[in-house]
Amino acid sequence: MSEVDPDTDGVPRRRRRPPLPPFETVVERHGPALLRFCVSRLGPDRGEESFQETLLAALRHYDELRDPDAVGGWLFAIAHRKIVDTARNRERTPTPSDALEEHAAVWHDPEPTGTIWSRVAELPPKQREAVGLRYLADLPHADVARAMGISEEAARRNVFEGLRRLRRALDP
């Protein structure tokens, strides 16, 4: 489908927008990884809540997405912002149940008896986030960058440095 869009000179310009896939496809392709990412970041209850909030926001604004191939990065950018907001809100307004739960910054290990993801939890925030998006959400570097709102260069660096620290932590 093409749209005729007159620019400032009054010369009509054709803009061809690639068709967006059905939203169900987005849920099928990215949903499981998105859920894993949210739960590992916020625990099962808040994790599912932020998962739902993320998908609802994406569904609400789906028409605004320009590039269908960028949907992964776009979706995880929404998730990243919601998770950061949730963590920030918890820090500001502690409740008795919060005192019993771990601090908002803790990364919930997706593998109950695992060691490597608990090591990931000990990484500095940007590296922890980048490693999670790359290996838990299984995103390519470009999408990691989009999700974190940083350059692809910076995303690669954070993943690289995160892996370095993990190597030192696991083989001292």
Partner: protein
């Protein structure tokens, strides 16, 4: 040494990836909860569900207005969803709705021999003008009887548009609910059916019409 670094990085990457549990039954439940919430928030324009019938698995799609498409087993159900996304709205989700629940119940009753006419609301969006008239005329053909393309064209107001009536029926987005299977060729031959002639024969047999 660079090669050792890369080897160790690969090992770490493998450990990270293999420690991630795969999606499972928990995912199905979470997905359903999301779909229900999206529907409640009024964000879903088209909902679809699959349903088993004696013909095989069909996919029913509905808007708030009513059932908008019935995909028969012979069709590529995922391609149908993509076409609906292109023609109606990309806000399409696998999700139950009251309309779909009613459609599924009525279809079960029909195949059980306990129902002859459908009452579930229909959405005619995908058919316009003459095609809509052809399908409305078709909807009035009683259970257990048949009609012809010529007769349907006449009832739709254009007695000479027999071929166009045939095309309209071939493109019926709501087979079963709008019984285009009851329309035969004037010479009595079965004629076409998007679900395949075997399915058409099966439906007519079920209705004891032939």
């Amino acid at each position: 040494m660079p090669t050792d670094d890369r080897h160790d990085d690969a090992r770490i990457e493998h450990q990270l990836r293999s420690a991630v549990p795969p999606a499972d039954a928990a995912w199905a439940a979470v997905r359903e909860r999301f779909a229900a919430r999206a529907a409640r928030d009024g964000l879903v324009d088209v909902s679809f569900e699959d349903h088993e019938t004696p013909l095989g698995r069909i996919r029913l799609s509905a808007t708030a207005t009513g059932v908008v498409y019935v995909a028969l087993p012979i069709e590529d159900a995922d391609a149908v969803v993509e076409r609906l996304a292109a023609r109606i709205s990309t806000r399409i989700l696998r999700s139950g709705t009251p309309v779909l629940t009613e459609a599924r119940r009525e279809l079960d009753e029909y195949f059980d021999g306990r129902r002859e006419a459908f009452e579930v609301p229909l959405d005619w969006t995908l058919s316009t003008a003459f095609r809509r008239e052809v399908l409305r005329a078709t909807a009035r053909i009683p259970f257990g009887t048949t009609s012809s393309y010529r007769e349907v064209a006449t009832r739709a107001g254009s007695p000479k548009a027999v071929r166009a009536a045939g095309t309209a029926l071939a493109n019926n987005p709501l087979p079963l609910l709008v019984p285009c299977h009851r329309v035969l060729r004037t010479d009595g031959a079965l004629g076409q059916y998007r679900g395949g002639t075997a399915a058409k024969a099966q439906l007519l047999e079920l209705e004891r019409a032939i």
